[in-house]
């Protein structure tokens, strides 16, 4: 099956005058069935893009919440192969374009060419490999493009203008702006100087700019949605799911959280419209 277009998802949001919600889930936490159900839940709540994390034993950019999710997923037998096997159901059930987030090593072990081909065939629309910098990522980006996959690069608050330009121009689908220092998770919230950061990224970017790290509440989402094209939320969903008593409870909690975040996004859109009129 062919993945839905990330670009079209952002276009629809732009037509609606709002930012997109990009919901991150840890694939296979604690099993693929749960991921299928949670993907459906965030979609029902109004999310526009799904970012699906492939579990890795040593994620460097992730805080304790996502680390624990990967540990549970690996204990449950998750692997690149199993995630890709479950991907068509996740894509089908949610109807969302999917960006696969993965550390580089599992991709190398699987084979870059095979990974891109199999991911695209299973319904993925893009890849995001946080520990592969743009200057070393050309070959994988080309392989992904041949398979029809977008490649998302990241920028951070202290990234130089020169590097930001390279990463932004190399990104397809969207560009991922990290809101602050540190690893993923709620600690520290969304970084300061958000508007300036987004404006700087947009100078170099022909694709939408989405902001992640530290986004938990509707207010966080609203602040980002006021200036950026997308809001990326991960740990907040993963924690809701982990703290629920069972799968049904997880689906409910994640859906509620996504709805709350969407309210923040819609508030920002309303304010923008009112400011214009």
């Amino acid at each position: 099956m062919k993945g839905k277009s990330i670009g079209e998802a952002f276009e629809r949001c732009r037509d609606e005058g709002r930012a997109a919600l990009i919901a991150y889930l840890a694939a296979g936490d604690p099993d693929i069935e749960t991921t299928v159900a949670l993907a459906g839940a965030v979609s029902e709540a109004g999310a526009d893009v799904l970012e699906l994390g492939i579990p890795f034993s040593d994620p460097l950019a992730d805080g304790p919440i996502i680390q624990a999710a990967y540990t549970r997923a690996l204990a449950g037998g998750a692997s690149v192969k199993r995630v890709l096997e479950g991907l068509p159901r996740i894509a089908d059930g949610s109807g969302l374009p999917i960006v696969l987030m993965t550390a580089l090593n599992p991709v190398l072990a699987y084979g870059s060419e095979e990974f891109c081909c199999d991911a695209a065939a299973a319904g993925a629309s893009g890849i995001l490999v946080p520990d592969l910098l743009p200057e070393d990522g050309g070959s994988l980006r080309a392989t992904a493009a041949r398979a029809g996959l977008d490649t998302v690069y990241l920028g951070a608050p202290d990234t130089s203008d020169e590097r930001l330009a390279g990463a932004a121009q190399g990104s397809t689908g969207f560009f991922y702006l990290i809101s602050r220092h540190g690893v993923t998770g709620p600690e520290g919230g969304v970084g300061a100087g958000l508007a300036e950061q987004v404006e700087r990224a947009k100078r170099y970017c022909s694709v939408p700019v989405a902001v992640g790290f530290g986004v938990t509440t509707a207010d966080d989402a609203e602040r980002i949605a006021a200036v950026a094209d997308g809001v990326i939320v991960g740990s907040a969903f993963v924690r809701e799911a982990a703290e629920a008593a069972d799968r049904e409870g997880a689906v409910e909690a994640v859906k509620r959280r996504a709805e709350e975040l969407m309210r923040g996004i819609h508030r920002a859109a309303t304010e923008r419209r009112e400011a214009k009129s």
């Binding site: 890795f56 034993s57 040593d58 460097l60 950019a61 992730d62 805080g63 304790p64 680390q67 540990t71 690996l74 692997s79 690149v80 192969k81 550390a103 580089l104 090593n105 599992p106 991709v107 190398l108 072990a109 699987y110 946080p130 520990d131 592969l132 910098l133 070393d136 690069y153 990241l154 920028g155 951070a156 202290d158 990234t159 130089s160 590097r163 990463a167 990290i178 220092h181 540190g182 690893v183 520290g188």
Partner: protein, 400 residues
């Protein structure tokens, strides 16, 4: 004879052939760029080098002696065995050479805090020591399994004023302590320097750690020429990440001297209880560089084991992979039991209790010495002393 890898690959900074590089989240790039630029500048600055050399002499106690271990040599087929006594350096291992250099660099960068990872605790103690010397706060990440088996070093770090942060995720050993330190640095690099303890991690760390540890080989080369009037036939060093080995090897790289790195075979390479990343691993990316790592077929990093906490790590410095691929050095492994035998042998033949890590190098020396011609000369890096290991050592050796 292979040429200097730096020279043959000088157009790509931070690469040793196809190994090394910088595989980190974008967040860390400015910190690494700043570190690279500052290290290159300071390494060529005579004022910095003079200050470092003065502290290496007066504070660390360098040069460390080169000692001919005659009775141990008899056990090694009567080879002429010299020990480079890094165990006699302040804090009891080679680790202070690097920690001191990085701490002076951190001071130049105006960093207000030091963090480190540690396995056996030797690097943690070295970092805690230089933090005390410079009056900086220090936090050391250490796996809870390592805290239990190297408790003496936990006490030392705390006495030195450092905080030891227990890591109970994943392997609960050096691998996860390293991951946690990197995550800390992702959020703290503006005011914190991360003192990596081995020649691993993203560029410029492998190059920088090698540079600070090369004092071992520079001294040893001069000392053996004075002592024997010739270079040794072989060098032996244990390899976890590989910093004591690269520090000994590098100054000999253009000489006609065989170099052997000894990894930890744990309970045997046929089991999954070992840490022989080079001997039994595959190319991969871990902790910021491309090297050989122990991993499963899905690319997940494998659990490891060694009786020596400092070798219990699934990766290895990228330059060692390059030295092996070019044929300049060879790498093999010895088991926990062989290392324990060598540990006891050195203690009883020379009155020197070696670290369990260094005992791996000694174990292969016993074997290699028997294959050499009788007047063959081996130079072994005795990278650390074994006080930290006496409880474990007594359990094993005492029971025999």
């Amino acid at each position: 004879m292979a040429t200097n890898p730096e020279m043959s690959d000088s157009d790509r900074r931070g690469w040793f052939g196809e190994y090394g590089g910088r595989y980190v989240p974008e967040t860390l790039v400015p910190a690494l760029d700043q570190l690279e630029e500052t290290f290159e500048r300071l390494w060529n600055d005579s004022g910095f080098r003079a200050e470092l050399d003065a502290l290496l002499a007066a504070y660390v106690g360098r040069p460390t002696p080169l000692y001919q271990a005659r009775r141990f040599g008899e056990l090694a087929g009567r080879a002429v065995v010299y020990l480079k006594r890094e165990d006699l350096a302040h804090t009891g291992s080679h680790k202070l050479n690097n920690a001191l250099g990085q701490a002076l660099l951190a001071r130049t960068l105006n960093k207000k805090r030091l963090i480190a990872e540690t396995g056996a605790g030797q690097h943690g103690v070295a970092t805690a020591t230089v933090a005390a010397l410079l009056g900086l706060p220090c936090q050391v990440y250490m796996g809870v399994i390592d805290m239990a088996r190297q408790q003496l070093n936990v006490v030392r770090m705390e006495l030195l004023g450092a905080e030891v942060i227990p890591v109970d995720s994943g392997s609960k050993t050096l691998k996860d302590a390293t991951s946690q330190a990197i995550r800390d640095w992702m959020g703290s690099y503006r005011d914190t320097h991360y003192v990596i303890g081995s020649c691993v991690g993203p560029h410029p760390y492998p190059l920088m750690v090698r540079s600070f540890q090369s004092v071992i080989g520079i001294e040893a080369r001069r000392q053996i020429l004075e002592e024997c009037g010739r270079l040794p036939d072989g060098l032996v060093a244990c390899v976890g990440g590989g910093s004591n080995a690269i520090g000994l090897f590098h100054p000999f790289i253009d000489d006609d001297v065989e170099m052997v790195g000894v990894e930890a075979a744990g309970e045997g390479l046929g089991t999954d209880r070992h840490s022989a990343s080079l001997v039994a691993g595959k190319p991969g990316v871990l902790h910021g560089s491309r090297s050989y790592i122990l991993q499963d077929k899905d690319g997940q990093v494998a659990p490891t084991h060694s009786i020596a906490a400092g070798l219990d790590y699934p990766g290895v410095g990228p330059e060692h992979v390059w030295l092996r691929e070019t044929g300049r050095a060879r790498y093999l492994s010895v088991t926990d039991d062989e290392a324990m035998d060598a540990y006891a042998a050195l203690a009883r033949s020379e009155g020197i209790i070696p670290a369990l890590e260094s005992s791996h190098a000694l174990a292969y020396t016993l074997e290699w010495g028997r294959e050499l011609r009788p007047d063959g000369v081996l130079l072994v890096n005795l990278s650390g002393r074994g006080d930290k290991d006496v409880v474990r050592g007594d359990e094993v050796v005492g029971g025999r």
